[in-house]
Point group: C2
Chain length 497, copies 2
């Protein structure tokens, strides 16, 4: 028995080492690899993916898992939950033929570079062939894996265990019902908010300096992480001692780097806060993408777009940029919270953000159902944006090509952002019972907030499932009302409605 | 038979994919990984090294190689030479136990970060334990592998096939005999040369811009390569489509980034110039480190420190830096060729450079022989520098800690630099028979020079052994006289002796 556990752990460790290599190659591909290097590096990703697959689905491992499952009462909690996770992964992987798994991983590694080029050149056709293949793989994999209820449920569960189309339809229905009229009211009755100063001249090198400053300020540890640049900001964790975040610098768009950095910094802080008892193991990472997004969007919005956050550091920012010389903190606060129908999800304000997610959710469902094909995406996209936001993209760069996710095979992921917003509001409400959050922000005591999140969320990694975690912290299940209340209060004040 | 060759190539390909992953991790470790990420990434390197070892030394591969060796006449030239290289590697690797091989690779991956910290903190003790282990491994590996004549020959042959201590002793003896009195003469009778302007204020961001410019100018292809920063400049090639170079930016030392970039650019151009017929395979890289250094030092010195090189682009450089405002091209030319006893090898002028290599060569020989131990290195280093150059390091940072090589396990490598200088002069003499090199430089026609090198050297990769290559190009064997003549003519003019 002891020997079986040891061997089980050895195999897990081997898989971890391969997976870190894969992550390092992805990091390289996204942040720096030369254009023509794509081919070889993608082949390496494909090869290593098949090795990772092979290690965890080996006959030896399958037997070990079966053996250990029979003796669960002899396992520690960590061993038992690790076994559960691994069992789940084996079940998923063994249904997919290894050749297709490798092909798929090669494809998505390559597709990200192709997407970046297509986006830069504003040329959907350049990307559509890759995306078609990815969608085909997704449909086929779901067929292999099977599903309960709706086929989309299978991939939804990969990012948010337990989530279903049924629950999401209700969730988004509630948000739509509450938010759409409120947005309309603001548009019609709200006081004007000026955000034009955010589009002035912000030299990239100064943005870069400030990004590093702000990441450190909120608590991202640079001894255990780095920040770099990429076409689409993301976070990658090897283990808690090596967490990488990216941002992007756009000369006439200050918010992009500032809030991109705070957002990814929130993801990074989550991963850096994993408990030592589970670090490096299967449980040693964020429990779901919804909870992950709750952390990033908590930092980005609940903290980063609050007035209190900027009280101690607005001078630092203002001193860097000529464009802010005559903008006082109140104008700045209102400017960074200006709500308007916009085209780019990652730049959207908190109020309209969920509408962007609904568009993607509906498109993904339709793609998986086979109701929509890739060639129709630009059209479908633009129609849905029109329907939800009342505006239309002038081109695919600000339309269907804006997000990296599909090129990386991340389908079923987008709802996590909306869930993240809601979790963040619930967590915020719970935090305020223990801490005076605004006072902590005004005193630059970001550590107090981080500590709370470390204690309540981060350290557990995958030891707690998302629903358990939220229940433990808030005493409730997922409850979108907190988010709606938070938005109405905040934006009601800003727009005086 | 055909099936055996196919299988042989498949295994080679598998090894290549693993080795690229290892390179990518090294690249990451040297250029960006956070301090505390060292541990995990080094473990990954160790793990993948053992897999690479396993692939090439598998029973199947050993049998395949034996089988194919019996049918060499049926193989193409490329297959035959690939077989020879692989056979050599198998012979080397199978003598080293895989556990030790993995340990060694983990160790050297870790040691480079430790060295970088030790160098930064000027603390040899921080690094000495790692270095002791590395030296022990080196000694032990040589014992496993066996040697002819001198134990140092075994590792010398890794970087310069066919090279021996006997040949090197003679080679360095000749250089010493010719150069030491000439250096003395210049010191006593030469006209003063001013290089102080090179130590003025050169903002790093401007150096960065110029580095990119100059790398592109000499012919480094950024569609197939990138430039980054590291504590010690180096070049890494995945294949000809992905070649990475680094440099370093020191605010009061312009030469460091400029000539570091040109040097690594020369390495990079070599790798980017590999023939398509051998690209990606075992033969698809530089044939030896001596020939590699001939390319880097040809670009750095023969071209980069010539007056003609700067004629079309000195204005570009001068325009970037206030410190060069009143320095004309002739003063600049003399300044970048100022010869003086100095402490840092990579910053040394061409004339005294070989003395730096002699110091390292003698120390390495003594380490391998067991005549010197790691704990004595700072003392031994300083004594030898005193002996050869007449000056003494004030600390280990400018002494024994200056080079990355030993931390990476690169022992037996340093002589390549001296050989590279000599090869470069021989190649230069041959090139001048076909091309008016100075005219090409003055006309910014760097492509003509690159084309010549591509044709005569780069495209062959490991298809030609270093001695074959030099013989083919120059009609002669290694001949240090060209280098001595070149130096005496160039420095004789500069110093008017």
């Amino acid at each position: 028995m002891k020997k079986s556990v040891e061997r089980f752990n050895e195999i897990i460790r081997e898989k971890k080492l391969i997976d870190v290599a894969i992550s390092a190659l992805h990091w390289d591909l996204e942040t720096q690899a030369p254009k023509k290097g794509l081919e070889l590096l993608s082949d390496v990703v494909g090869y290593l993916s098949s090795k990772s697959y092979g290690v965890v689905t080996s006959d030896e491992m399958i037997l070990l898992v079966e053996e250990l499952k029979k003796k669960r009462e002899e396992l520690t909690e960590i061993e038992d939950k690790t076994l559960e996770e691994v069992g789940k992964e084996i079940e998923k992987l063994t249904k997919i033929p290894v050749v297709e798994y490798r092909e798929y991983n090669e494809l998505t590694a390559k597709a990200q570079g192709i997407w970046a080029e297509a986006r830069e050149k504003n040329d959907f056709d350049l990307f559509s062939e890759s995306l078609e293949k990815i969608v085909e793989f997704q449909r086929r994999f779901i067929k292999y894996r099977g599903y309960d209820g709706h086929p989309y449920n299978t991939i939804l569960d990969d990012y948010e265990p337990g989530m279903t189309v049924e629950k999401l339809d209700e969730f988004f229905g509630y948000l739509r019902k509450e938010l759409v009229p409120f947005i309309k009211k603001i548009k019609e009755e709200g006081k004007e908010v000026d955000g034009t100063f955010l589009k002035k001249d912000y030299p990239e090198d100064k943005q870069m300096e400030f990004s590093r400053f702000i990441a450190e300020y909120i608590g991202f540890d640079f001894e255990r992480g780095i920040i770099s640049e990429s076409a689409h900001p993301f976070t990658l964790n090897y283990n808690k001692n090596d967490v990488r975040i990216t941002t992007r610098y756009i000369r006439n768009m200050l918010s992009s780097s500032v809030f991109g950095t705070i957002h990814e910094g929130g993801h990074g802080i989550y991963e850096q806060g994993i408990g030592d008892d589970i670090a490096g193991g299967v449980l040693g990472e964020g429990t779901s993408m919804g909870i992950h997004e709750s952390q990033s969007r908590f930092y980005e919005n609940v903290l980063g777009r609050s007035r209190a956050f900027w009280v101690p550091i607005y001078g630092e920012l203002q001193g860097k940029f000529e464009a802010l010389k005559d903008v006082n903190i109140d104008d700045f606060y209102r400017g960074i919270n200006k709500s308007e129908a916009s085209l780019i999800r990652v730049e959207a304000d908190e109020l309209t953000y969920s509408l962007h997610i609904m568009v993607r959710y509906e498109i993904e469902k339709a793609l998986i159902e086979g109701q929509v094909e890739v060639r129709d995406l630009p059209k479908v996209w633009n129609e849905k944006i029109k329907e939800y936001l009342g505006i239309e993209p002038a081109n695919d760069k600000e339309g269907v090509l804006q997000d990296v996710h599909w090129s990386a095979g991340l389908m079923g992921y987008f709802p996590s952002y909306a869930l993240g917003n809601v979790y963040a509001s619930q967590i915020h409400a719970a935090m305020k019972k223990d801490i005076d959050v605004d006072a902590a922000l005004e005193n630059s005591d970001l550590n107090k907030i981080k500590e709370w999140l470390n204690q309540k969320i981060h350290r557990f990694g995958k030891l707690r499932k998302p629903e358990e975690l939220i229940k433990e912290i808030t005493g409730e299940d997922l409850n979108a009302q907190y988010f709606v209340d938070y938005l109405k209060e905040k934006y009601g004040k800003i727009y005086q409605v």
